[in-house]
Symmetry: C2
Subunit: 382 residues, 2 copies
């Protein structure tokens, strides 16, 4: 009996070999301990995935997962205690059981002791204080991944959260994960895709093993900065898309603002990031996440409410029930991006971001966004 080795079979064999090589990269005897820092709805949804994966992969991960919880009282009981007894985050992701091997810990420093992997997942404004708390307790060779969407607007220049973590904790590499991932839909097990950005292949491999699920498909790319920038900037554009919704324009105009936003994001990434690959925008962190955020996210709702209720973004959490207790990172990210545009005197290259800033913070009329779409130049790379 002869075996015919056709091209497709050959390709599959090559793929299998590559897969073995990848495995060889990382399978050592060490079972890594994981700590998730943050327990909001996304933090909790991710802790559920991680809790499940570490149990299935004892050769790669330690069975117990720590989850740092910023404690609060829920009907007189501490949230961390509720999570550890009921195995449910009744505050931020009610209705979904958390695997019992995920241990809520209200002490940040204690939660990272012996950790080999840190998963950062809290609102960006709390990052500094958490880093200060854990700084002296982490292992020097700890691996870190940030799921935080935001830009630091208090410093000059473009400050990515991953760089902030690197600087605060003295780490050389921080990976990121961003994608079209509404937390409650991931919790429900609806099929979703996501993108991990990892400079080093072995880090990417470990994080993929930790986070991939049949219903949560991880793709790894090396273009870390663009992945992270997309995660922050999509919130800005979603504020604009919400404003368009609030003004009562239709699908065409909304698609135009999302498209122009992505184009400005791409131009911005080329101008201000160390690396930027156009293909990264084809990943889940790119236009897929822009779609999800501009159609189903909280920033869209905030933009719409901003127009309809005629209230500043900082007051929306008091009047929109779905935004209660939330401090959205979008306005800070918009400030960060616009400050850089203004500082470099390139407002005419970024008319959408510029007018969005003026509409959101300087009381310009919301229809100025339409004027900005008209002003936006044709795509210079063609």
């Amino acid at each position: 009996m002869t075996v015919r080795l056709n091209t497709r079979l050959l390709l599959r064999l090559v793929a299998t070999t590559q897969c073995f090589t990848k495995r060889a990269l990382c399978v050592d005897s060490k079972a890594r301990k994981v700590t998730v820092l943050g327990s909001g709805n996304w933090g909790t949804a991710i802790a559920r995935i991680i809790g499940d994966n570490v149990r299935k992969k004892p050769h790669l991960f330690h069975n117990k997962v720590q989850m740092y919880v910023y404690d609060s009282l829920i009907n007189g009981r501490k949230l961390s205690e509720i999570i550890n007894t009921e195995h449910e985050n009744v505050k931020d992701l009610p209705g979904f059981k958390i695997p019992p091997n995920v241990i809520a810990n209200p002490n940040a420093a204690n939660s990272v002791e012996d950790a080999d992997i840190l998963v950062f997942n809290m609102p960006p404004m709390f990052l500094d204080s958490v880093c200060q708390k854990i700084k002296s307790s982490i292992k020097p060779d700890v691996l870190a991944i940030s799921l935080i969407k935001g830009l630091d607007h208090r410093k000059k220049g473009l400050h990515l959260v991953s760089n902030q973590i690197k600087e605060s904790l003295g780490l050389q590499h921080v990976s990121v994960m961003m994608g079209a991932n509404l937390a409650d839909e991931v919790a429900k097990g609806f099929f979703s895709e996501t993108t991990i950005g990892s400079r080093l292949e072995e880090h990417g491999y470990i994080f993929k093993e930790l986070l991939n699920q049949p219903y949560f498909k991880v793709n790894v790319v090396k273009d870390v900065e663009t992945v992270e920038f997309c995660g922050a900037v999509k919130n800005i554009i979603a504020m604009g898309a919400g404003i368009i919704d609030g003004l009562g324009y239709g699908n065409n105009t909304k698609a135009a603002i999302i498209r122009t936003g992505l184009e400005e994001a791409y131009e911005f990434s080329r101008a201000f990031l160390n690396e930027s690959n156009m293909a990264t925008f084809f990943e889940s962190c790119g236009f897929a996440d822009f779609i999800v955020t501009c159609y189903g996210g909280k920033h869209r709702l905030a933009g719409e409410s901003f127009v309809k209720m005629n209230k500043p973004f900082s007051e929306l959490q008091d009047v929109v029930p779905e935004l209660k207790f939330r401090r959205l990172p979008g306005p800070d990210s918009l400030e960060a991006v616009y400050h850089l545009v203004r500082q470099e005197q390139i407002e005419d290259k970024f008319p959408l971001v510029t007018s969005l800033y003026k509409v959101c913070f300087e009381a310009h009329h919301p229809t100025e966004l339409i004027a900005a779409l008209k002003r936006h130049e044709e795509f210079p790379v063609l």
Copy 2:
């Protein structure tokens, strides 16, 4: 007094010069006569724009515009007569006045006599017969642009509508226009963007002058085939997005199918078109049109109805009021694309298109689309 010439000013001056060069390309004494072939809702919306533009630009265009109308009786009156007296297409775009310089003509051959510009805008299945009717009446140097979204599935290989027009009429170049353009929203004057693909710069310039409006922003690129292919393939993906809606999945899964669809479209365009620029997908014809079609278009509705009503696509027009009298081009385009994929034995490279075909035409279960999303390989260009 000294004048400081900074970089930005210099760039603007260069831009102005380019603009003058472009004008010099085309401004001759000839006022071109325009014929719009087709009077559906998109054809009528575009005829309104053209009718307005030719009046404003007598140095470029003849004042009278012919519109070929496939006549039908509306309450005992011919549609062409209603349009020429009421200046409204009461059948396909009711409620919007058509400029009186647009003349409805039920005779295709007569409508193109003396025409310098043909604007093709009818369902793709009627193209052949219209071309046969006008063939002997057109000028040999006529300019043509196609706004038709579809692929010819009856022939082997990939047959773009623009090539079909070229072959039928013996033309050397046919431009195309595709974009995130729901017809009724354009008619309402909601800001929209669109993309013209023109191989020759002077054709692109003429068509932009004919079609651009303050509320309808035209961008011209040279990558004609990708622009046209996007316009056809978005309908296929929208059928899939509608199926996802019908199955009750959320935003994440819908974004995943749109993203994967765009990725397969890009791979397909690289494999089968003579040219394909990734940047073209950033234009309005690219993901912006995918968004609009997958959220607000008829193909999305058809996909959703296909699942909920459990009827084949060919019978949906009988049971869904919004699809009545419409023969959607998406199923034919899907057949054309899948036939090519099967013929080349590359189903494993295009799992989404393959499973979509099997779900739509071979009674496979709709959830097979989710399995296809899981199977889809990581993006090979990274």
